[in-house]
Symmetry: C2
Subunit: 247 residues, 2 copies
């Protein structure tokens, strides 16, 4: 068996999320089905981040063990051929040693959240953004976001069903900027809690609307209570942008 690291793009719209579930098609199942068609084995595909239903990926990372000596490019092309018509695309396959684990070896994950902030609803970007028609102050959102950078107890921004052992996480960076009608938030950390990015975005929206100040965000964080935070932003605007591993 050879272990392959896969870098994967997907449109999360039609999926129940990354993880295999009874109630619909997952990205993992689409990949594992492609592996089965390609290699006639029931191989498990391990992902770095278990994205929710509707969440997209520009570069999710996964690994899988295959009974093949094919060149990595051949592996990527074969999986892509077997993945159609699912909107999942293997951007790159790389041979890695058996110690590599997509989830446990990862040292950084990056996410991007896109808000379409204009009066007109999304047409070309439908399903790929959160449409908020009322004007938001992106600079105020950026300033307030800095309160969340660093090591904190993120209970306020954690989904009830989150399975992480501890609510303490370290966010390395959050940036919010506007490009015409699009507000983009980018963030990176070793790992995130379930719904953490979406709950942060929902809270920053309140700042963008002028209803909350950075002080209010700090108070919400200190409360360590999900009820003290803002709404959970919809999955449609969220993208897993990268996963980093030790060199």
């Amino acid at each position: 068996m050879q272990r392959f690291k896969l870098t994967i793009e997907y449109d999360g719209t039609a999926f129940v999320g990354w993880q295999r579930q009874e109630n619909g098609m997952s990205v993992q199942e689409a990949l594992e089905t492609a592996v089965e068609r390609y290699c006639q084995i029931k191989g498990q595909v391990f992902g770095a981040g278990r994205t929710d239903a509707g969440v997209h990926a520009l570069a999710q990372v996964a690994h899988v063990d295959l009974p093949r000596n094919d060149r990595p490019e051949v592996v990527a092309n074969a999986l892509n051929a077997h993945l159609r018509p699912h909107l999942v695309s293997v951007l790159k396959a790389e041979l890695v040693d058996g110690e590599f684990h997509a989830r446990f070896s990862a040292v950084e994950r990056g996410y991007e959240y896109r808000i379409l902030n204009r009066r007109a609803p999304a047409a070309l970007e439908a399903g790929k953004v959160w449409w908020i028609p009322a004007p938001l102050d992106a600079e105020a959102m950026h300033e307030a976001a800095q309160v969340l950078v660093g090591k904190h107890d993120f209970t306020t921004f954690r989904a009830a069903e989150c399975q992480a052992e501890s609510p303490v996480k370290t966010i390395d960076a959050i940036a919010v900027s506007r490009q015409a009608g699009m507000i983009v938030l980018t963030t990176r950390a070793r790992s995130f809690l379930h719904h953490q990015v979406r709950n942060i975005v929902g809270t920053l929206r309140t700042v963008g609307e002028g209803k909350w100040t950075p002080r209010d965000v700090a108070r919400a964080l200190e409360a360590r209570d999900r009820a003290a935070g803002g709404q959970t932003a919809p999955p449609t605007g969220l993208y897993l942008t990268h996963v980093k591993y030790p060199a």
Copy 2:
């Protein structure tokens, strides 16, 4: 009656094109239905460019006469509310005088064509690009495209069903550039023939593959014969980007 100029974004995927047809939903019909719901009249919506099935618009322009004195923002919001769930969005409505005609007053139209040029198929950009896995030389495509700039008989690049009186058109500019895995062609002219941009893109692909030189493109143009040109690029990669009017 008041005449309104509408600037419109749409995802062409689910439409039979701009123009009303018997065989399916058109962008024009979606807009005219919204006008009827909003104003209880059967108003005709005139578009600047009759985009084909699957072709998108970042900023199509249309006009319509409405029996309303509502402020333009109210008109845009009302049409957008009645347009759901169609992926057509009125970005802007403006009051114009009765002389304004979206199609006949236009002095320039701009198009963009997006080629996803990488081994991995489109996932997030599915339906929004032309996927070409073999590497293309964007600089060579740009150079060859310059042969087509200016006033020429574009019979080679004209669809058989084109209804224009003359095949002579003046292309003001064509630029081709690469941004990572995406090759983008932009072009502008007072007006274009039916399939002209798509036939140009299909021909430039041959240059990008290294099979044709700028001299071959010039020869194809001089042949004034559709059979001398390259294939018609698919509609999915084409976007109407702007329409200009006299100040």
